[in-house]
């Protein structure tokens, strides 16, 4: 929870001031994917849902949109874990980068479908590309944090044995 809070605060107030090519890192999505990769389907899905819901409370997009996308992305990431793909920095980078792209594209697509047409005025391709690359570069860090997060979570450790 402390990790999630720190990432949230960083995402809200620090990350926007450190843009690369006009795009700031989408750290919460990276952490959700890493949580699924390191923890499995249910941990990834529940963590993604709750974290997405909390982030929803800070933005103008409908409450539940990020919860939906992050939950589904965490679920998908958990399947990659269950398929026993050998964990390596490259695998993690590809999974987190690809997952970020999928998550952001889904977020924008669903948002527009729900009437959030302002999303269409954003440089969506650039956001997806740059944020995915940034998250891929930070993949090792995300994985370390996610492993540490689940190891330090006694309830989750017992409940979600996979």
């Amino acid at each position: 929870m402390v990790i999630a809070l720190l990432i949230l605060v960083f995402h809200l107030d620090v990350s926007p001031d450190l843009p690369i090519a006009g795009v700031s890192a989408e750290l919460p999505l990276g952490l959700v994917i890493a949580a699924g990769l390191a923890g499995g389907v249910e941990r990834g899905a529940y963590f993604g849902f709750v974290f997405g819901f909390v982030i929803d409370l800070f933005f103008f997009t409908p409450i539940g949109l990020r919860a939906l996308v992050f939950g589904a992305i965490g679920w998908v990431a958990g399947h990659v874990f269950l398929d026993r793909i050998e964990e390596s920095p490259v695998t993690a980078a590809v999974a987190i980068g690809g997952g970020t792209a999928l998550g952001l594209a889904s977020f924008a697509g669903l948002g527009v479908a729900l009437g959030e047409t302002a999303l269409l005025e954003s440089p969506i391709s650039r956001i997806v590309l740059v944020a995915s690359l940034l998250n891929a570069l930070l993949a090792v860090l995300f994985m370390r944090v996610a492993h540490w997060m689940w190891a330090a979570d006694p309830i989750g450790h017992k409940r979600f044995v996979t």
Partner: protein, 281 residues
């Protein structure tokens, strides 16, 4: 007691999360009050943390910006110097134009803001990667703000309060597509409905202005304030930037350039006025 097999359990978890998300979306669209209370409670915990982190990390972020945006800053510096020179050169003309507008409004008995009480609010900077037609301000029901109240800057109207909670509110900006705004072209008395067309775009009036009405580029535009309107009358909106004639409908289509800059708002003023007169805190 039977135990679900892992695959089925995972699918059930996903279905449960999807259903919960859809329920949340549905409740949010309906303005479900407890959800707003949760939002207020969570934000009251996180916002102070975020505020304090800003002061800790600002040396790093400032250093990054000066590194990553050096060329942009240089260009901007040159541009600002040029603009300053232009502004100084035009200041007399600008103040004369403003005086003329005020004089014109007074001449037709316009009472700017109508003496209604106002509250000044700071725009909470919450930049994400994605654009929005809304801004957030640090005033809410605790300060007498109500849903529907008009929001202005010293230049003119910028939007309307769309969501309000204890200590903060959301403001829908005028450039939101299909945001309806009753306007009047000063000097003609012509009343029509203007709509936003997106970020950085002028408002557009597509119908309601007949062929015979003489409208010129540069004519000032204010809120119409007709009965039932969401805005008080005579708030400055902008100036006519283009006039076209629709030969089929025999009506004029006009574009209105907003005088308030919507892309870099720092402070705004909320007029404590609602259409039903409910402005008590």
């Amino acid at each position: 007691m039977s135990v679900l097999d892992p695959r089925r359990r995972r699918r059930t978890s996903l279905a449960l999360l999807l259903l919960t998300s859809i329920t949340l979306l549905s409740l949010d669209y309906q303005g479900f009050q407890p959800l707003n209370q949760v939002q207020s409670a969570v934000r009251s915990i996180v916002d102070p943390l975020a505020g304090s982190s800003d002061s800790i990390t600002s040396p790093i972020t400032n250093a990054w910006r000066s590194f990553s945006e050096f060329e942009e800053l240089e260009d901007e510096n040159i541009r600002l110097k040029r603009e300053l020179a232009e502004i100084q050169g035009n200041s007399v003309r600008a103040s004369a134009a403003e005086e003329s507008l005020r004089a014109l409004l007074e001449e037709i008995e316009i009472d700017y803001i109508g003496g209604a009480e106002t509250v000044v609010a700071q725009v909470i900077d919450r930049p994400g990667n994605f654009e929005s037609y809304s801004i957030e301000i640090d005033r809410g029901t605790d300060d007498g703000v109500r849903r529907g109240m008009p929001v202005v800057t010293s230049a003119g109207l910028v939007g309307r309060v769309s969501e309000v909670q204890g200590g903060f509110s959301q403001v829908r900006l005028l450039h939101q597509p299909d945001f309806p705004l009753g306007i009047r072209v000063v000097g003609t008395g012509e009343v029509a409905l203007a709509r936003g067309q997106g970020i950085g775009q002028d408002l557009v009036v597509k119908d309601g202005i007949i062929e015979a009405t003489v409208i010129k580029v540069g004519d000032p535009v204010v809120t119409s304030g007709i009965e039932g309107s969401s805005y008080p009358p005579d708030l400055v909106v902008g100036v006519v930037s283009d006039v076209d004639f629709d030969a089929q409908l025999l009506e004029q289509e006009i574009s209105v350039r907003l005088v308030a800059q919507l892309d870099d708002l720092r402070f705004v003023t909320i007029i404590l006025w609602t259409v039903d007169g409910d402005s008590a805190p």
